[in-house]
């Protein structure tokens, strides 16, 4: 089995549910209504199939360059916007920032992903005058707590990492471009601006930006020629000895050895050892596990994909990543300051030969040494002083090679960070200190926005998230398909949520979108009004520094839906009312609404404070637009937005957005800002990412056109993300489960039977039935497309019970069951390869002192139906017949429902992805739980 898994794992890593709170739409039933008058662009946006025919075969756009990826992204975004599945955008969490007039920024217009370039390209034109300022000629800023250490290798937050970045160099960094409208990546500790691609042991500059490899060579600065030295401001003689020492090649490798040493248990090393994908390092886990006694040079050399060397270009280290990737992502994943070189002699001195690893970058246990004594600088600043709970000073490294080459860079002599714990609870504290002249910059808090937003010192910075109201525009039928008793996303029971008929009306949703005065709403909150799906920091060309929202493709994506309303923050009272008028006419004609009805929308918010700070204005906008529409007045209809908040912020996702129990829901997730295309997965209606938050439109419909061909949203996304195999535009199934039955028989146990077949078997059957597309797909050679059933299991009760099989021979690998109320383990057995038999460890809730061999309570038989002979033999059908006996069987059966999950590894042109096929089915004659009798 080919174990190289790239794209889908990468995409899984890329999508993360974040804590920022702060993506409907179209009713398939009403797609034919086409009420063009409500659309600002004046075009009919009802779904009509494009002329071009849908494709059969492999579609892989993985190697697309940045320009094409931007075009695809624009196509997908337009589709999403026109079908209103992005969620109702409100504002971007940008902020007003004030700067002291003495600060000359590197650039006046904020560069997304880079900033104003104050430290590198900017300068200070005077001193701070407030007498309490300690370092008047330094750039003064603040933090709200004293972390008491600067070793980011052993910290799980961002504060220490921010401090560390002042003194720790990285292989690559960013600098403002010549035009001062973006930034370029360049080599910092690397002597080249990009890593070199290594293939078959040969390194070359990667001319093709999309060429992939797992091994990359970084030429590094070493010795006198490298012009980078260690520095310290410690007064201790033993530390001073390292001031001005050259960085050597071994130091780069030692940094990895120290970070990943299992004995030191550095947080980031532990995390790196557990990581997979292109951001991980080959062999990291094995070295971490094998170095519990200390740094193990032999093991490192043997296992870890970090090797040093010298060639005609210079000193280098070769890094082998966990998965192949292109040059940009290789550079990006290696641009961490966690990999900054470390002088091992210094490290041993500070940590007493590794006995006290926590001394590094912090205080020793007796507080005889401080962070200033216990770390060396390899970057533009050195740690000058650390006064506990008062302030941290960084002094410019006058030796820094960039400044030697260009004295205009880094002209600010230092940075002083005030520690103000009062700012933790008082949002106005830091701003008041700024007004008193003690720091150089501060964000304007809500209480002062009106007073200072037009101040000459004020500037606007872009945000990282667009806050939205997600939309549930399902009809009841669609909702039951997704979340009903046999729901494909969750099984909550049929009609467990009553969908509002108006929420599935396209014009009603349009009315909502146009009814909100985003400019006023955002201004009141000091934010930036937004009609975008992505925030400003998403880069369609990360290497070129191009933000997606600045591209023509993005503008085109918004034009049809928003039209002229873009000039007014997506707000148009006239259009909103017109849309509501049409919606009312349609709903009344369909009998879904009668005269004098009160229409309700349930809106869910993340915190109780949102009911005061965010909800009221939204309610007012929406209700006013609807209630003042002509049709609403004529028919005496009223709209009421019922805002509610959850107790715990995550409930808004888990109990509402992700399970369709809402009409509008305030929530947001973020993805990798450098890969916005991957993030589009969250808009797919099949919830393949697990993070779909907007429901209604079926994104597998063949109603999207790209370059003259017919696609669905799902297949176009899949084609560019990991490749897709299509039969007339419909994604070929990876597998299916049929004839599933589950029945409990007293005295015997729970009997489960099902058939499964992988995608190839499905195609063979279709081809036999005359499907020409299937015949064509079957001709694809195995190295272009293959499917491999890589996992098969039975689940009960959302994972509390689990039986896992080997799909090649039906062997039960292990089985477990927990009490769903207490999570206490009740049964656990596994197939022990040493004894080649089942071993039961926990039975009836008791952990066995002597595990029992050969007493399985789960047994299974498998039959395979194949066709062909010899090399042509293929699996047509696998069938399972499984029995879970005794109390375990009764417990499994008593849940009343089981799930069968099949995992298929799909390989398209060498790129693997994991596809899951699952069914849920009820248990016949389900008994009472044996636990209930206790």
């Amino acid at each position: 089995m080919n174990k190289r898994k790239i794209a889908l794992l990468v995409s899984s890593l890329c999508i993360a549910s974040t804590l920022a709170a702060c993506g409907g739409g179209n009713n398939p039933d009403s797609s034919g209504s086409g009420t063009a008058t409500t659309t600002p662009g004046g075009d009919d946006t009802s779904s009509t199939a494009p002329v071009a025919e849908a494709k059969t075969g492999i579609a892989s756009l993985i190697g697309a360059d940045a320009k094409e990826r931007t075009a695809i992204l624009g196509t997908l975004e337009k589709y999403a916007v026109d079908n209103m599945i992005t969620g109702l955008p409100l504002f971007e969490n940008g902020a007003f920032q004030m700067y002291n007039p003495r600060v000359t920024k590197g650039v006046e217009n904020y560069i997304t992903g880079y900033g104003f370039g104050i430290l590198r390209e900017g300068k200070l034109t005077g001193d701070l005058t407030n007498e309490e300022v300690v370092k008047k000629n330094y750039y003064n800023t603040y933090d709200t707590s004293d972390p008491a250490k600067i070793n980011a290798l052993d910290d799980n937050g961002s504060q220490v990492d921010d401090l560390y970045s002042y003194i720790a160099g990285s292989y690559f960094g960013t600098k403002m471009n010549a035009a001062k409208n973006g930034y370029d990546w360049y080599g910092v500790l690397s002597t080249k601006d990009r890593p070199y691609i290594v293939k078959n042991g040969v390194a070359a500059f990667p001319e093709d930006p999309e060429a992939t490899s797992d091994t990359w060579r970084i030429y590094v600065r070493t010795g006198e020629k490298g012009k980078v030295k260690y520095h310290t401001n410690s007064a201790r003689e033993d530390r001073k000895a390292f001031d001005g020492v050259n960085i050597e090649l071994d130091d780069y490798v030692d940094a990895f050895k120290i970070l990943l040493c299992g004995k030191f248990k550095y947080y980031r090393g532990n995390e790196l050892a557990k990581r997979s994908g292109y951001s991980s390092i080959k062999g990291a886990a094995a070295y971490y596990a094998g170095s519990t006694d200390g740094i193990n040079d032999t093991l490192f050399e043997e296992k870890v994909g970090v090797k040093k060397g010298t060639d005609n270009v210079g000193d280098y280290i070769d890094v082998t990543l966990g998965a192949p990737t292109n040059r940009f992502y290789a550079m990006y994943s290696l641009a961490s300051n966690l990999y900054a070189p470390i002088n091992r002699r210094f490290f041993n001195l500070v940590t007493n030969d590794g006995a006290n690893p926590k001394n590094y970058g912090g205080y020793d246990s007796n507080k005889d040494t401080t962070p200033v004594d216990n770390i060396l600088s390899t970057s533009t600043y050195t740690l000058e002083s650390w006064e506990e709970e008062k302030g941290i000073a960084f002094k410019r490294n006058d030796d820094w090679f960039e400044r030697q080459e260009n004295s205009q860079l880094y002209s600010i002599p230092g940075v002083y960070i005030n520690i103000w714990t009062a700012a933790q609870k008082d949002p106005n504290y830091a701003f008041q200190q700024f007004l008193a002249g003690k720091i150089d910059a501060a964000g304007i808090p809500l209480d002062f926005i009106e007073q200072y937003k037009n101040d000459s010192r004020t500037t606007k910075v872009t945000g990282t998230s667009v806050f939205k109201l997600n939309v549930n525009s399902c009809t009841q039928e669609v909702w039951n398909q997704l979340f009903g008793s046999k729901g494909t996303v969750a099984q909550l029971g049929d009609n467990a949520y009553q969908c509002k008929p108006w929420m599935s009306n396209e014009n009603f949703i349009r009315g909502l979108f146009y009814s909100i005065d985003r400019d006023a709403y955002a201004a009141k909150r000091g934010s930036i009004a937004s009609t975008n799906y992505f925030s400003s920091n998403y880069m369609s060309d990360p290497e070129g520094g191009i933000a997606y929202n600045t591209t023509q493709e993005h503008k085109d994506a918004l034009a049809d839906f928003w039209g002229d309303t873009l000039a007014t923050g997506g707000y148009s009272e006239a259009l909103s009312k017109a849309a509501f008028n049409e919606a009312i006419k349609e709903l009344m004609a369909e009998g879904k609404v009668k005269k004098k009805d009160k229409l309700v929308i349930d809106a869910w918010w993340m915190y109780p404070s949102h009911l005061k700070n965010y909800a009221p204005d939204i309610e007012e906008y929406v209700e006013k637009a609807f209630n003042e529409s002509e049709q609403a007045k004529a028919n005496e209809l009223t709209l009421d937005v019922n805002s509610q908040a959850v107790d715990v912020w995550s409930d808004v996702y888990e109990k509402h957005l992700q399970v369709g129990k809402f009409d509008l829901g305030f929530g947001s997730i973020s993805g990798n800002a450098l890969d916005p295309l991957n993030f589009m997965e969250v808009l797919k209606s099949d919830n393949s990412s697990g993070f779909t938050l907007n429901w209604g439109k079926d994104t597998s419909d063949l109603d999207l056109e790209y370059k003259g061909e017919t696609w669905s949203y799902n297949t176009l996304w899949a084609a560019v993300d990991h490749g897709v195999v299509m039969n007339k535009g419909v994604e070929a199934k990876a597998g299916e489960i049929n004839n599933a039955k589950a029945e409990y028989k007293a005295g015997e146990g729970l009997k489960v039977a099902f058939d499964f077949r992988d995608g190839m078997a499905i195609l063979r059957a279709a081809a036999e039935a005359g499907d020409e597309g299937a015949k064509e797909l079957l001709k694809l050679p195995a190295d272009q497309w293959s499917l491999d059933v890589s996992g098969l299991r039975l689940q009960v009760n959302a994972g509390y019970g689990d039986v896992t099989f080997d799909p090649t021979d039906g062997t039960v690998l292990f089985a477990e069951y927990y009490d769903p109320d207490t999570a206490a383990p009740l049964y656990y057995q596994e197939l022990d390869s040493d004894v080649e038999d089942y071993v039961a460890y926990i039975v009836d809730g008791e952990e066995l002192e002597e595990p029992v061999v050969g007493n399985p309570w789960v047994t299974g038989d498998v039959n395979f139906v194949t066709s062909g002979e010899g090399d042509d033999e293929v699996l047509d059908l696998g069938s399972f017949d499984l029995t879970i006996s005794g109390n375990a069987g009764q417990m499994f059966a008593s849940v009343g429902q089981i799930g069968i999950v099949m995992e298929v590894t799909q390989n398209i042109n060498g790129v693997e992805s994991l596809v899951t096929v699952s069914v849920a089915l009820p248990v016949t004659n389900a008994p009472a739980s044996p636990l209930a009798a206790e």
Binding site: A16, N156, K367, A422, A436, P825
Partner: protein
């Protein structure tokens, strides 16, 4: 007396042990907040917690420890079950460390890696330095005002002093500190708004003492004043003072030679107790004014749930409180020969 002293000291230690045990066990009942983030970050966090000793890790579920905090299946397919370590187990390890090595543990979050006791030792000096001027000023000022009020009993001066004292006593200390900050620092700009850095000019560092001294001494001045006035007025109305006047002593002589001495009997021990109490510091002042003292350390340790520092700090405060009470009681016997603590009737 000796026996009584020993008994009181032993009782103080026993009381401290009970307080610390209860505090430890109750604190360990606080909710456990795992790290946010992806599975790798969480797995690293829990491994960290296992190393610290708060969490246990198993390869199989362990019903006896209740619900697992988290389960994680790693790349190799192995599942890790993380359970909260029982509070009693942690307590036993902690107590053992204290009695065998006087090891109070290391700070985890406030000052990572530093011994909890070293941390406290490094802060006590600052706390004493901040509190001592307040004691030096408040004692004579409070007693002086009290004497004046007593001498002018029921006159306008007495009424004014009593009213002012009543007002200041009624204002909670954190309000007082905030008012002083707001008025003297933010509005008038006379004094620094936070404790000056050690790198600040000497003049500013001296001015930095003014605000905490005022804030700390107001309450003490008021207390001493009221107490002194009450005691002095009572003594001044006693018969032996009348006899002293009758014998020919002037008013001033009778007050200084006889009345004051008797009035000081209950006051001196509280002065001594306050000096001992210097070590504890003022949490509110240190937190609001940014003084890196023991009080601020305590507040920070609570908010970061740094149990080792918290318990060491708690032990310090408990012992200071209990021993100063013992000291107070015993000092009565030295100051007033009529009082013999522990004497049998």
């Amino acid at each position: 007396m000796v026996k009584y002293t020993i008994q009181r000291i032993l009782l103080a230690f026993i009381t401290a042990a009970i307080i610390l045990t209860l505090t430890f066990l109750l604190m360990k009942q606080l909710p456990f907040y795992p790290a946010a983030g992806n599975d790798e970050a969480k797995a690293a966090f829990f491994t960290d917690q296992v190393g610290i000793g708060n969490v246990l890790e198993f390869a199989l579920p362990q019903a006896k420890y209740g619900d697992p905090l988290w389960t994680y299946t790693d790349k190799t397919g192995h599942t890790h079950y993380y359970y909260l370590k029982p509070a009693i187990d942690q307590f036993v390890i902690w107590v053992k460390g204290i009695f065998t090595e006087f090891n109070w543990g290391r700070s985890l979050y406030v000052f990572p890696n530093v011994d909890a006791m070293v941390l406290i030792r490094s802060r006590i000096g600052t706390t004493i330095m901040v509190n001592l001027p307040a004691v030096i000023i408040s004692v004579p000022a409070g007693i002086g005002l009290g004497v004046w009020a007593a001498l002018k009993k029921n006159k306008l001066t007495d009424h004014i002093i009593s009213t002012v004292i009543m007002i200041f006593i009624s204002v909670p200390s954190f309000i007082m500190i905030t008012l002083l900050l707001y008025t003297l620092s933010f509005n008038l700009g006379w004094l620094p708004a936070t404790w000056p850095s050690e790198n600040a000019p000497l003049e500013m560092r001296i001015r930095g003492f003014i605000l905490p001294t005022l804030a700390l001494s107001f309450g003490s001045i008021c207390g001493y004043c009221r107490f002194t006035r009450a005691e002095l007025t009572e003594v001044m109305s006693s018969d032996f003072l009348l006899l002293a006047r009758t014998k020919g002593l002037t008013r001033a002589q009778s007050i200084t030679r006889h009345a004051m001495r008797n009035a000081m009997v209950p006051i001196l021990p509280s002065i001594l107790a306050e000096i001992v109490g210097l070590l504890g510091g003022s949490m509110i002042l240190e937190e609001l004014y940014g003084v890196p003292g023991v009080g601020k350390l305590y507040v920070t340790a609570i908010s970061l749930q740094d149990y080792n520092v918290l318990m060491a700090d708690m032990a310090l405060y408990t012992l200071i409180g209990l021993l100063s009470g013992v000291f107070l009681d015993l000092s009565y016997g030295f100051i007033d020969p009529r009082i013999r603590m522990g004497a049998k009737k």
